[in-house]
Symmetry: C2
């Protein structure tokens, strides 16, 4: 089954609203083996909606719309789609009673406008909306199938999962073939180097397709099986993930949407470590990443944000002579920060980050992007430095990820 999506809303074209509905619907349909073949965004204007929905129906016979179902004058989806199906819009008394109950529950008095929310294309099935006031509509006719959902993301999502997907599943159950994807997450290696490392793996994965998805802190490898029976698709994706994981080796840190901080915490928990951080240029982001994981408190004790040099000296005990000789952004200072954090926090594993995030402060010798890392792992200390790429935000995000990854590598290679 193929389907097109038409998202309706002038906001979407002005760019003030990100079209998250489109992504959510794409994922949900793919998981059910329904191919979303096109996505079109049009303003709240009847002519544009008619043209886009009409063309979608001609191409695939099935269209899902979001938006334009509210009570105000710029909500014209129902009337326009009804027109395409050659059916009138009628007042639905049962729907009106349900709406009145909803208003009473929230102690609101419906206005004249609200009555229009009980109007539906004749013959349409009402998809009840328990999460808001505009119901979804399911309309079938000679023109094909039109599914209309409200544009508010929470309402759209609930109606999609509770009302639309079960109905679509009824139709596709007999058909062979689902779309299944799987992801391996890697970090600490550039996309091109990863591609070289994986070599001709794409040929071995066929008929599955492989996509490299580079992000600011990770390169994700995603395999997709297209239109295979569910069991076969799952087996092949699982096998492919194993191959990719082996190929990426030490740079692979998880599957799906695994977060590196969660992987690090699990490894530390297994080994009974207590983790602390000492942050200068990242200013708390490494601690923020770690504590974003629920339950981090049994492993993470805390950290020192040593932004000013005096905090490096006075709280972390970094030697004034070390800063004088090497500068605050240097490996010796990073090592002393890590050591000081371990002592101050009573942690046995710490990482320190000091660098130049920019946009100012770089020199020929120490350019913007230079970040030094110090590690203290059960008494062993070492340091690294990298010149990271990007703007201030990207450099800080990459430095945080790098710090987490390198701590994880060190924990993983500790003797059991």
């Amino acid at each position: 089954m193929e389907l097109e999506l038409v998202t309706i809303g002038t906001e979407l074209l002005l760019g003030f609203t990100l079209d998250t509905n489109g992504a959510e619907i794409g994922r949900a349909l793919a998981a059910q083996g329904i191919r979303l073949t096109r996505r079109t965004s049009v303003p709240d204007r009847a002519d544009d909606i008619r043209e886009a929905v009409g063309a979608a129906l001609r191409r695939t016979g099935a269209v899902l719309t979001t938006g334009g179902l509210g009570p105000t004058h710029d909500d014209v989806t129902k009337q326009t789609v009804a027109g395409l199906f050659g059916t009138p819009v009628v007042f639905d008394e049962a729907l009106w009673q349900a709406l009145l109950e909803r208003y009473a529950r929230y102690r609101r008095t419906p206005t004249a406008n609200n009555r229009s929310q009980a109007e539906i294309p004749q013959g349409a099935v009402v998809l009840p909306n328990r999460w808001g006031s505009a119901p979804g509509l399911w309309l079938e006719g000679a023109a094909g199938l039109a599914i209309m959902l409200p544009g508010v993301p929470g309402e759209m999502r609930n109606l999609l999962h509770h009302e639309v997907l079960p109905r679509l599943s009824e139709r596709t159950r007999a058909a062979v073939g689902v779309i299944r994807s799987g992801t391996i997450r890697t970090t600490g290696i550039a996309e091109s180097a990863l591609a070289e490392r994986l070599g001709d793996i794409e040929a071995r994965l066929a008929p599955l397709t492989l996509a490299y998805l580079p992000g600011v802190t990770s390169v994700d490898l995603r395999v997709t099986a297209w239109h295979l029976p569910a069991a076969e698709a799952e087996a092949r994706v699982s096998e492919a993930l194993g191959l990719l994981e082996a190929g990426a080796g030490e740079f692979a840190y998880g599957r799906g949407d695994t977060d590196l901080a969660a992987v690090l915490l699990a490894e530390a928990r297994r080994r009974g470590c207590r983790i602390g951080v000492a942050e200068s240029c990242t200013g708390g982001l490494v601690g923020g990443r770690i504590t974003a994981v629920p339950g981090s408190s049994d492993v993470f004790v805390g950290g020192i944000i040593a932004y000013a040099d005096e905090i490096k000296r006075e709280v972390l005990g970094v030697g004034a002579a070390t800063i004088g000789a090497h500068g605050a952004v240097s490996e010796p200072v990073a090592v002393e920060m890590a050591h000081g954090a371990a002592a101050r926090l009573g942690a046995d594993v710490t990482v320190a980050v000091t660098g130049i995030a920019g946009p100012d402060g770089g020199t020929a010798e120490k350019p913007v992007g230079l970040v030094c890392f110090g590690f203290h792992v059960r008494g062993h200390q070492d340091s690294m430095q990298r010149v990271l790429f990007g703007d201030r935000e990207e450099i800080r995000a990459r430095a945080s990820q790098f710090a987490l990854f390198e701590v994880y590598r060190r924990l993983r290679s500790l003797p059991d």
Copy 2:
């Protein structure tokens, strides 16, 4: 001038990639008075691209595409668009030399595939890409105007602003009527309370439109002037922003995409304050927000991430008796944290955050979402608590925003 956008990429339809390019392009065009009339996403398939780009050209005579310009076999945008313009794809020696220089700079050896990146539709203007390897292309002919940009967001953004908008501006300079928007940012007040406070302001803003845009940490108020002469649009938006700012009162903290942390830093700088933080449940996010602002180092000294109670006691000097009597999540502990941070860091303004971010750890008396804040502002101490709404990530983001806002309010009300 009207223009349609076609974003190309199977990823977009599978929903794994959010179409941020579309929103960015919509905003940038509107600011220049160019109306984006439709946005279409199609897979990396020549037939789909041809159909969508062809239809867009027939409707408006101008199309902007993103994606499908890379070196691999699924990058077919150039060939397909050239076909619509009836022009062949040719090898551009100057572009190839520029690409070779780029590879040399990054010590990479180009592969046979890379040569295809120097192929362009005959007659197209090359929009040089200093941020990546796929150049943009500007092609005009009997079919109209086609602007092709790469899909990588950073490269797209730079090419859009440096190459495309200046060229489009040349064409639209003479035309009357632009779309201008302005935004007032508010925090610490719910959307419905804000609407009540603003009363019937919408009528006074006409013909400008007003939108409430609630986010996790702010409610933005956006006014838009549609198709007015530039000078009038700007005057009216400016006047409207003044009205909204006055209406929102103490809850307004800036215009446009102003960041609250930057506003706080400016106020602290003006008053010669040195700021520090003490964070438990936010785990570094408040420090991360502050240090995200370039130049924060002249005001922000650092912080203590006191996740474990022993760090609260041993580094911040919170009394064991205070924790014993009130619990770690309590106003008395928050005040002692703020006080301890000021002493330990040598800061004269500190904020402390301790709370229950969830999903576990809540009780009837202290539910998930309870966050206590302690403030130390030039010797004066006080505390607040709030029950914040949302999941762990939202609670932490809201707690960070609340901490910044309340510090800002206290600084603002200091005697000059």
